[in-house]
């Protein structure tokens, strides 16, 4: 199987379009006067989305002091500006529930990405960044390009190289050396095809090289460090169980103390299982 370009691979992969409910949700949450009831009604038109969002609202991600019983309550407590980002995460995890790979299972793949999303969100909380759920969804989607690349890794020269050099070369560098692009480029291209915000595209594109992000270096840096933490904690995998190299500039840019690390690890550990249960059925 020959891979010519990002565009041809994107075409071959034939990824599904985002459902219409997402466009309606982003439209309604962008209107200043939208009530929680109106936003909830849009979400409720997709019962699966409504169910998963309610589960997420009751997960350790939010740790609300009492059980969230209704979707209206969930939208009210989480906030209209954030619900669109969370819905995007729920929709994409639900849509992409299979993987054609000898390297990884879909559960392990999403587990890694969810752990990364939680870590990125904790970093955003520590830095008091907004919008906070943008950090979660950026972490959740950061490796999405791998899902399109796995079939080529299975069949092509990449797998042989990977087996041979697993101890020496990170997979994302092998991808670029063999194909001319890597899963980060491919993921960003998919997000562009879905017309998702530029900041999300950048965070995905530059999660292995955050200092090259032209506009939103903070989001890219947070996802970069969160990916390293998720790999270090061995929480799922995208196929190569190694911690990628850290960009020291990214760590410096985040301005966090090293003393914050135990807190981030503890939060990821505490939240992961309930968020996995809320997103993956």
């Amino acid at each position: 199987m020959k891979v010519a370009s990002i565009q041809s691979l994107l075409y071959e992969a034939d990824m599904p379009a985002l459902p219409e409910v997402y466009a309606r949700l982003t439209a309604v949450t962008a209107q200043p006067g939208s009530t929680t009831a109106v936003i909830s009604a849009v979400i409720q038109s997709d019962p699966g989305l409504a169910e998963h969002l309610l589960k997420l609202a009751n997960s350790a991600l939010f740790n609300f002091p009492r059980r969230v019983e209704t979707l209206v309550d969930a939208v009210h407590l989480i906030g209209a500006p954030h619900i669109g980002d969370l819905a995007l995460g729920v929709i994409v995890v639900g849509m992409l529930d299979e993987v054609n790979s000898d390297l990884v299972s879909i559960k392990s793949f999403w587990r890694h990405n969810i752990a990364c999303g939680i870590a990125a969100r904790v970093i955003a909380i520590l830095r008091q960044e907004q919008p906070i759920e943008r950090f979660f969804v950026a972490g959740l989607l950061h490796d999405i390009g791998s899902l399109m690349l796995y079939p080529y890794i299975n069949e092509g020269a990449l797998m042989a190289l990977l087996r041979d050099r697993d101890r020496h070369v990170p997979l994302y560098r092998l991808e670029r050396a063999v194909l001319g692009f890597n899963h980060a480029d491919l993921g960003a291209a998919l997000l562009r095809q879905w017309a998702l915000p530029d900041a999300l595209q950048e965070a995905v594109a530059f999660h292995h090289a955050p200092s090259h992000a032209p506009h939103d270096a903070m989001l890219a840096a947070a996802v970069h460090v969160a990916d390293i933490i998720a790999n270090a904690m061995e929480l799922g995998s995208r196929g190569q169980r190694r911690v990628p190299p850290l960009s020291p500039q990214a760590w410096q840019y985040l301005g966090l103390s090293i003393a914050a690390l135990p807190l981030i690890l503890a939060q990821v550990e505490e939240q992961l299982e309930s968020v996995v249960a809320a997103l993956i059925t």
Binding site: R167, I228, A232, P244, P245, L246
Partner: protein, 89 residues
């Protein structure tokens, strides 16, 4: 174990199949922190040795000369060693 050098020597001696320099590369501050856990009875040296070896492999692409990566590696060693202890019960 009287001091960190004893712990390092002990780890090198029990080895558990690690790369020859895995334990030699442990710096003094990290050894002190591991020693604290061993002396407190929270971990034993063979479990710690296994954890150090496993985590060193996972960090083989990482730039562990960066202080933040050293700390992350240390936290992961302790996390893994405690998991080994729990699963051994």
């Amino acid at each position: 174990m009287a001091n960190r050098q004893t712990l390092k020597t002990h780890l090198i001696r029990i080895n558990v199949g690690a790369e020859p320099d895995t334990f030699c590369q442990l710096d003094s501050a990290t050894c002190d922190q591991y020693q604290h856990q061993v002396e407190g009875g929270e971990l034993n040296a063979p479990m710690l040795a296994h954890a150090i070896q496993d985590v060193a492999e996972i960090f083989s692409f990482a730039n562990v000369d960066e202080p933040v990566m050293q700390e992350l590696q240390r936290l992961c060693v302790l996390r893994r060693a405690h998991k080994l202890k729990t699963s051994a019960r």
